[in-house]
Every structure is written in structure tokens, then in C-alpha cells.
């Protein structure tokens, strides 16, 4: 399949072509979904290089198994499940997982509308402590919060990835927020200061 001619082609059509061995069609699927796959791996592994390898493994595995995809769920959901499973497998095998979370703490994410230098300093401090509090969550709560807040997935997709009901995902996100809020309050971060 020629690149550039797939703008209005649906995932299902690309999947059918890929099932027939069309590497170009699968490449278009990679272009469409590589960000979601990578972010899911990043949420699980918290390390950029590990997430890249997990995402690569997941996409190659999807290519190898695309022939068995029956279309019971959306291709993207199926692909994200593979990505999450690969990331979980890699996370389990990483003995030094906890020590590899540090680089991500340097990532950005501070809001730009910070106002005065004092406000900017306070926002940076709050963001740093919020990340630390999220890091301190249990894996189940942290995974749900990071996936739900990434902006890439709906609750149904997160539920499919985590293999839990949607209600469980919502509860985990809510509980994660509550615990992070509690930790921040203990550090003196209260609204209206």
C-alpha cells in the first residue's frame, strides 16, 4: 500500500490489508497508534528507553499476531492490551525498576500560567511533590491514574488494558487522587494559600 493514501482509510480496512501481508498498511497503523502504545508503556515502566523497547516489542508482536485478530474489539484496544502486557512483563523482569523511575521526574509538565516568580516557584514545588506522591502510590492505583490522565485513553480502554471493570478503574483513579491529595495536604499544600 502506498504511503499517503490512507488518510481516510479506517483501522479495520488497514487491519484487513495487514492480515493479507501488507506491511505498508501495518505501517500506517503504527503511525496512528504508536503514541498511545508508547505512553501506555511509559505509564507502566516509567522509563523512556524501557518504554521504547516495550512499545517496539508490542508493535512487532501485533504484526505477528494480526492474523489472529478477529475484530471482537477495536484494533486500538487490542493493540493497547498487547502493549500493556508487554510492558507488565518487562516491569516484572526489571529488578531495578524502582531505581529507574528517577529520569522521568525530570520531565516537564509545569503549567505555563504560573504568574509571578513566587507563584512559579510554588507551582514547581507543588508539581514536584505531586509527582513524588504519585510515585509513592501502589502500582494498581498509579497505573490507573497515569493511564486515565494521559489523555490518550478512555476509561473503557484503560479497563481493557488493566483487565478490570470500568467501575474499578474509576474507583482506582478516585482513590489515587485522594491519596495524593492527602499526601500533599500533609506537606502543607492546601488551596487558598
Amino acid at each position: 500500500m502506498a504511503a499517503g493514501s490512507t488518510g481516510c482509510v479506517t483501522d479495520d480496512e488497514l487491519v484487513r490489508l495487514a492480515q493479507a501481508g501488507d506491511v505498508g498498511a501495518f505501517d500506517q497503523l503504527v503511525v496512528r497508534h504508536q503514541a498511545a502504545v508508547f505512553r501506555a508503556a511509559l505509564a507502566a515502566l516509567r522509563d523512556r528507553s524501557e518504554a521504547e523497547e516495550a512499545a517496539q516489542d508490542a508493535l512487532v508482536r501485533a504484526w505477528q499476531r494480526v492474523g489472529s485478530f478477529r475484530g471482537d474489539a477495536a484494533f486500538r484496544t487490542w493493540l493497547l492490551s498487547i502493549a500493556w502486557n508487554r510492558a507488565m512483563s518487562r516491569r516484572r523482569s526489571l529488578a531495578t525498576w524502582f531505581s529507574r523511575r528517577a529520569p522521568l521526574a525530570e520531565a516537564g509538565g509545569v503549567r505555563e500560567d504560573e504568574g509571578s516568580p513566587l507563584d512559579a516557584l510554588r507551582h514547581r514545588d507543588l508539581a514536584r511533590h505531586a509527582r513524588a506522591a504519585i510515585d509513592a502510590l501502589s502500582p494498581k492505583l498509579r497505573d490507573a491514574l497515569l493511564l486515565a490522565q494521559s489523555g490518550d485513553y478512555g476509561y473503557a480502554e484503560v479497563a481493557a488494558m488493566l483487565k478490570v471493570p470500568v467501575g474499578t478503574v474509576k474507583w482506582r483513579v478516585s482513590e489515587a487522587r485522594r491519596q495524593v491529595r492527602q499526601r500533599l495536604a500533609a506537606l502543607g499544600f492546601v488551596d487558598g494559600d
Binding site: V23, D27, V30, Q34
Partner: protein, 183 residues
């Protein structure tokens, strides 16, 4: 309202969570996937040959190990006939079982040595050129009766008789409630 009070904190939490998964996928991801997808399927690459060779070598090593472990025991020329090992050789030098006298086991040590003449050992596997024995002599094992020592039991002194006095029980009288209690 609590939600309104914590709106800023919630926003900070959302921002922090989003930032933790914000980095875009690396540029090389798509190219790496395409390279791997376009590569020959695993098992047919250039390394398939060495891998098969290594697997074959491993199988040969395992088979050699199994063969070595299951090889027949060395055949000793018997004293009485072919294929029958002599009891002396069997017990003294070739038998891996510890002799009864040296065994720490109480049961084995308590067995009288006079009745423990070990019978000739029959080889489990017949090696090439060795004719199995036609008859096997098994010496009956003599069992020495256990000696029992008489146990002396001293009589236990009987305590003096205890006198039991009868207890006089007078029947209780139950009066009419009310008047009796007021008195």
C-alpha cells in the same frame, strides 16, 4: 464545597500525572518496528543455523549423559559361576551399601551378624558375553530371639483408710412469700 476547595490541587495532580506520560514516542520507534517487521521471521534468520546446531549439540550431550548414567554396572567374575558376583567382593569392595556393623542405624546394628550372610548378588543387567546364572543360592536368614529382662515391680504402699462421715441434710422449708419476708 470540598471539590471546589481542592480544585487547584486536583489540577496539579492531573498535570503531574499527564506530565509523567507526556513525552512523545521517539522518532526511531516506527523505523525500528518496520525493520523488524520486514526482517525474516524468527527462526529463519542468519542465526537460525547456529541455533539449530546448538540445539542439536545440547540434545547429543543430554543423550550421552543419559547413556553414561544408565550404563551397566561392571561385571565381576563370580566365585561360583558365571554372572554371579562373590559375596565377599560384593560386600567388601563393590557394594555401596554400608555394612551392617558400621551402619548407624539401630535396627541394622541390632541384627545379629551371624545370621546376616548376604546372598550372592545377581546382576540386574546382563552384559555382553556374560551368561546369567541358572540357580541362585539364597542362604536363609537366622533370626535370634530377643532376650527379655524381668521387670521388678515394687508394691505401692496403700494409704490408710479414710473415714467418711455421713452428712446430715435437713430439708428446706419453703414458706409463703410475702409475710415471711416482711418479718
Amino acid at each position: 464545597m470540598a471539590t471546589d476547595r481542592s480544585a487547584g490541587i486536583d489540577a496539579a495532580i492531573d498535570d503531574a500525572a499527564r506530565a509523567m506520560t507526556a513525552p512523545p514516542p521517539p522518532e526511531a520507534l516506527r523505523r525500528a518496528v518496520l525493520d523488524r517487521v520486514a526482517a525474516p521471521p524468527s527462526g529463519r534468520g542468519w542465526w537460525a543455523g547456529p541455533r539449530l546446531g546448538a540445539a542439536a549439540a545440547a540434545v547429543v550431550l543430554v543423550m550421552a549423559g543419559v547413556h553414561w548414567m544408565s550404563r551397566p554396572a561392571p561385571v565381576m567374575p563370580p566365585s561360583g559361576g558365571p554372572g554371579v558376583a562373590s559375596p565377599a567382593n560384593t560386600a567388601a569392595s563393590r557394594d555401596p551399601v554400608v555394612p551392617a556393623a558400621a551402619s548407624p542405624s539401630g535396627v541394622r546394628a541390632a541384627t545379629p551378624a551371624t545370621g546376616m550372610r548376604r546372598g550372592p548378588r545377581v546382576l540386574r543387567r546382563t552384559a555382553t558375553g556374560v551368561v546369567p546364572p541358572s540357580t541362585i543360592d539364597v542362604t536363609p536368614v537366622a533370626i535370634v530371639p530377643l532376650g527379655t529382662e524381668a521387670v521388678v515391680v515394687e508394691p505401692v504402699p496403700v494409704p490408710a483408710a479414710i473415714a467418711i462421715a455421713p452428712i446430715a441434710v435437713s430439708p428446706l422449708s419453703i414458706g409463703v412469700a410475702g409475710d415471711a419476708l416482711e418479718e
